[in-house]
Point group: D2
Chain length 435, copies 4
């Protein structure tokens, strides 16, 4: 986790104090369930709730752990300092550390997912607003970085919206997958604890009981979770690259908002760099790099080994904090993106009329010219525009072989922009359900 | 794709002849739709179906491509050789190469997913059968590779079943995500082709129209697809590692089936190596390595660049072929796995009774001994078993501090195996819906 | 390995017939050494060389392997068919399959490295030639995609040269690391074979004896090899991205060579797409994806497991063939790159004079203006150029606060391009040792 | 960076205060060089050294950055608060932020490499000591987890030594690669600053001047650096897996040192888990995951974009801190590893004499039995040991076909352990240069 790329809402989830709070709740709910079963005395279960409002002392727990070299035992020892060691003696009974640790991790990941879903809603709202704002702002579509045919800025936002909405759906599925808990004992057999304890704790914590656990919750769930974050990060990169391209000096169709007083460069004061989207490109790599180790974590030895633990101490906060920050940053970038429609038009006309070549090709074919001949005719005129800066329409009008097939009016009609935007409404309806 | 790790069912999907067949179907269906709209003559659309039973000549198409340096144009040229160049002149009208290429790729991935789902069904059936067969076969559960508490072999199979069933669900979702097509033209605006053509082609090919495309179908879908394969491959590795561990000489709780005439080693004829599951460990890495490039493919420049294409030419066949092979190999390994229940018991009793230590710990606590004292009592007797090979139960019975809290009968009862298996039915019901 | 991205020189190294040839040489040299030690009869060693000119029958060996399920045994059985089973009976004595397999793999990787080094020499030659050709071709340097200060096209080629030369050095080191062989027996103890056999075989095959092996040659060597290929692939991507940017319609400072008859797009005949460098971007991902599995291969169980084998069957040919192809493709792209110096000048002057802002800033500071004030003065004039299309120099000359510090001649002097190119020679000397 | 897996020596390198200290030194040395050239007044250069002993106020710099949104400008502003804004006005002249940032990063990576090299020396010393200690401690070598032939514990340590020594050499090379600095201005042309400034600063900071930079130092150097760390991490995993295997209950040939008072499990007090080496397995994944993003960082746009920066803010401290911790942890594990030679012997004899099968096979062949027959004879006796627990030697002595070829004394001789250890000295000499 890099502080400068972190928001407090998400880092709070990973704060040790939050972890201890969740551990406490798991233990306390488990005591309730054990008391209901008659396994432990009701008064001991109730006594645990005395600590309900305690903010656990992270330093003190660390201090104990330095001796016991075991974090859960350290926490339980500290809890006994609040509840009274006699009253606390049934806490954790029949449970194993991982019952607490794994259930807690999934609570944290579930909450992180909730935040991320909210982030995506913010981003989706910004994309939708800008899409409708620029629904009819014509710009050139580009394949291979080369001018192709006209499209609109609204369609660009709309496709990012559609992509991010898919990301949101994946995130909802990943949240569902990760929202399980396990209180099943040393190797998951419930030998020392009744399954009803697991059911009670999970219900209280907003989780489902893990179908079958083995001290640990199976790590394929986590692999899927991080893989999902990796895909969303890649979509962020996709949007970021578009904006970076739009802001290049030669293109200049959009710029990230540039606040008063911000300095673009220590050396070149005129510069306005797309630093936010460049940063997002890097952040996407940081999120994505967590996917492979999460997958390597799946194959644990027998009922479990602990190799996954150090990995998750790193990637669980890192991936969620970074993605949360990135989604918020991107929402802000989209929201305030400065768009230059006039530059879009200027760019489109850089090679006069050339982007209409496909329409002419089609028209020639439909007028009876063979595909091969039509291709040749279009290409020879296109090359004059490309190489000598001629105007495509004028060249076509002056080409006898072309005018033998198409009348001047027909040629003229091929240069109508409306031809290219006629299905924008269709696409908006597909994406937004409205247009 | 490595021939020795490939099954013909899956490689057929990636054969050039299959690709050309799909291209053909896309073009022919598109002609039908164009004819229905009155854009092209009906007889030309019908003429295309003359090639319905043609097996396209891959070498001839390659030959043409060597000149045109464009694969779709090469195919269309070849198609015209069958249909007649005059009749074929409306084929592909208004379309762009990617309309064909991307729709085709998704058809292939969808079919690959169908095969993989069938593979998982085979694997699930094998796991279920072995789970019920060994539902009550007791073995020691291990955490950190160290004996923990008893479990059963059936539970091991059951948890692999649950994990693979999650994998199957994810695969169904990934198939759903990837089953889209696009016939939307040069930059996805439908400028040159009506959206109804896309709808018709997609319906005929078993796809949904892509919400919004940009010459290409957005690559977040593919990233999610490969990420899903990577998670499933990691689950395969998980099962493979378990079997490799079971087969180690010192453990020998199971062995891969060893056919007559098979030689384990050129040098050591007695050896029976878990080569299939070791192989699966490697294959898992090969599938997993495709995840990151699939994610790197998401951020294309503007409406598209073609950097993703070479990547997909590699990873699309590689990941699906390898995973298909691995799932089948694993199903076979599970199906024929030789299991040694007597060795499981022998291993469990290696340190006599020690695996029952937690039960004794709990009993002491419940008998009123403080947690710290109980821990100390258990540990001191456990250490004698560990270090001097003593029998745990006998040591406990001889420990005055222990017997002050627990009667001999109470101690005896703690060594009952049934205690550990009492919830096997519960877990089977969770996993299989029956027990 | 994707046939369309493969050159025969490299695929030949990975052909089964090459593998069997190398196996044969290893076995034959080992027999010589064994005979020299008196372990086996000289005539049997000599008899093996009868097969010196045999082209081994891959199909026949596959046929035998189908029965023995062991590739080395299958080969030895086939070899005996050539040498005579009685004469061949000392072949492979004291050796284990991996002695042959691992030594062979390293021979193949070493030869692959030799080809790659030759590829790099070709690429370096092209880069050097173009660097000197465009040593003084001024273009704008860009940071963040935004115009910064002038540089030259020659410097761009020179930095790619320097980067690729580092790549070449790394490749030489990786080749050195991988060029080891092992003939050390079942667990590497030389129990059944004398170390002098290993020494003899390695010398004959151009290898060094592995310091200490364990049936297998340690996989950290291979991990380093593939990591090195991954870094070089990333450098290829670096060059590719530059060219893709240069070719974008709005920039158009260079284009990949476009042969007569080549069609850029099935729909838009005017298009010239940087498809080669886009392809290289994808190929770089394919090479890079082999790095992580190669690293996952390092941690084998005890003296060896065979999980690495399937991985290497994939990545060893894939990474070397793809990189070989990519280096050759890139050398061709560089060699024939069409460069447009006039467009470079036009781009540089898009915002008239603005790229000289840093010089003016420095001049103001040196004339005694405080850094903060100088920054403010430059920025306010820069903004007029940026936003209103004014000419930077004219604005400065009209700004009283500026002219209070700098004379018109001094301002004029700041717009001299020679100022920016004065150290091109220095840099060429650093890179090429000449200028 | 995860605090619990971090050592203060390495985290200090990444502390903001260290960064500002290095920035300061770079700026101050640059001023000296500028003064020597006569570009700035000598007294201003000297004045900068007034801040020589200042511990820069990180909070204050952060505060300024919150306004300027530019870290280097914030630092320079703060530096001026110490030096006096008039005296400081020539600081940073002709330089660009990256001159400072990139040179600083490489200083940090170089220092990190120095620490890592020292770590490896510690690890190598521990491995060497344990290798000589257990040079003759016989244990069974295992391939595929299956008993193969005898080896010694000393050879295991020796091969880890050899692998780590290769790692050390790679690290020295990576340090050499990364130890460059650049003071070359906005796009690396030295337009605004003389190359001699770069030379002076680099020399003072222990660096070499970057051959050719472009505002940034080329990222292939960093990719190679992180790739090297990834390979070393994989070697750590290799050693860790060996120890985890040795500690499994059924094997128990070694255990991590278990300090008094340490609790293995909250539930099972008898457990001694290999938690340190399991942890190292996880840490290896964390280091390795930084390799791909480091490679993705290589392809920057034109002279630079800033996408690499956020990545490096994460991976530079993370990878070096984690690897430093891991190397130290591993050195400690090796140093204190508890080894059980008697268990090694017991394991080796689990299947009585079976591990000698290859010797018998060879002896039969040398006695004139055909390879196929010898194989059959050995395998049929081996199977009786494997399946019925018979003693291999006794079975051979009772097999008439065997004794027809080998005398009892010859059979007896094949079971001599010295046969397997006779080249231990040879291997020690190769690895350590002594035996």
């Amino acid at each position: 986790m890099i502080p400068r790329y972190a928001r407090p809402e998400m880092t709070a989830i990973w704060d040790p104090s939050t972890k201890f709070r969740i551990w406490y709740e798991i233990e306390a709910h488990a005591c309730d369930a054990q008391a209901a079963l008659g396994v432990i005395p009701k008064e001991n279960a109730e006594a645990v709730w005395k600590a309900k409002d305690v903010v656990f002392d992270v330093d003190r727990i660390d201090e104990i752990e330095a001796v016991t070299k075991h974090d859960v035992i350290a926490f339980l020892t500290h809890l006994a300092e609040h509840v009274g060691s006699d009253q606390a003696r049934f806490v954790h009974q029949g449970m194993t550390s991982s019952d607490v640790l794994d259930t807690c991790l999934n609570v944290q990941l579930m909450r992180a997912a909730d935040l991320l879903i909210a982030d995506m809603d913010k981003l989706l709202a910004a994309l939708k607003r800008r899409a409708f704002e620029h629904k009819d702002t014509v710009r050139i579509g580009r394949s291979h970085g080369i001018h192709a045919e006209p499209t609109t800025m609204g369609l660009t936002f709309a496709r990012f919206y559609a992509e991010m909405e898919r990301g949101r759906r994946r995130l909802v599925a990943a949240r569902e997958e990760i929202a399980t808990g396990a209180i099943s004992g040393a190797v998951g057999t419930f030998a020392n604890i009744d399954p009803s304890v697991e059911e009670h704790v999970c219900k209280q914590m907003g989780l489902k009981p893990e179908t079958i656990s083995t001290q640990v919750i199976p790590r394929d769930r986590h692999a899927m979770f991080f893989a999902t974050l990796g895909v969303i990060a890649s979509s962020i990169e996709n949007v970021a690259i578009e904006i970076r391209h739009m802001q290049r000096t030669e293109v200049l169709e959009a710029e990230e908002f540039f606040s008063k007083g911000q300095k673009g460069s220590s050396a070149m004061p005129h510069k306005r760099n797309p630093v936010l989207t460049e940063n997002l490109t890097g952040l996407a790599r940081l999120v994505r790099m967590t996917v492979v180790p999460a997958m390597e974590n799946v194959a644990l030895w027998h009922e479990r080994d602990i190799s996954h633990s150090s990995v998750e101490r790193g990637i669980a906060p890192d991936a969620t904090v970074t993605l949360d920050f990135a989604l918020n940053r991107l929402a802000g970038v989209i929201d305030k993106l400065v768009i230059y429609p006039e530059n879009m038009l200027a760019n489109m006309n850089k090679f006069k009329g050339l982007v209409m070549s496909q329409r002419v090709l089609l028209a020639l074919t439909q007028a009876g010219v063979s595909r091969e001949d039509a291709y040749r005719l279009v290409q020879r005129n296109a090359m004059k525009v490309w190489e000598q800066g001629k105007d495509f329409k004028e060249e076509l009008l002056a080409d006898a072989e072309v005018t033998a097939a198409l009348s001047p009016a027909e040629i003229e009609e091929k240069f109508d922009l409306g031809y290219h935007t006629k299905h924008v409404d269709t696409l908006f309806k597909r994406v937004f359900g409205e247009s």
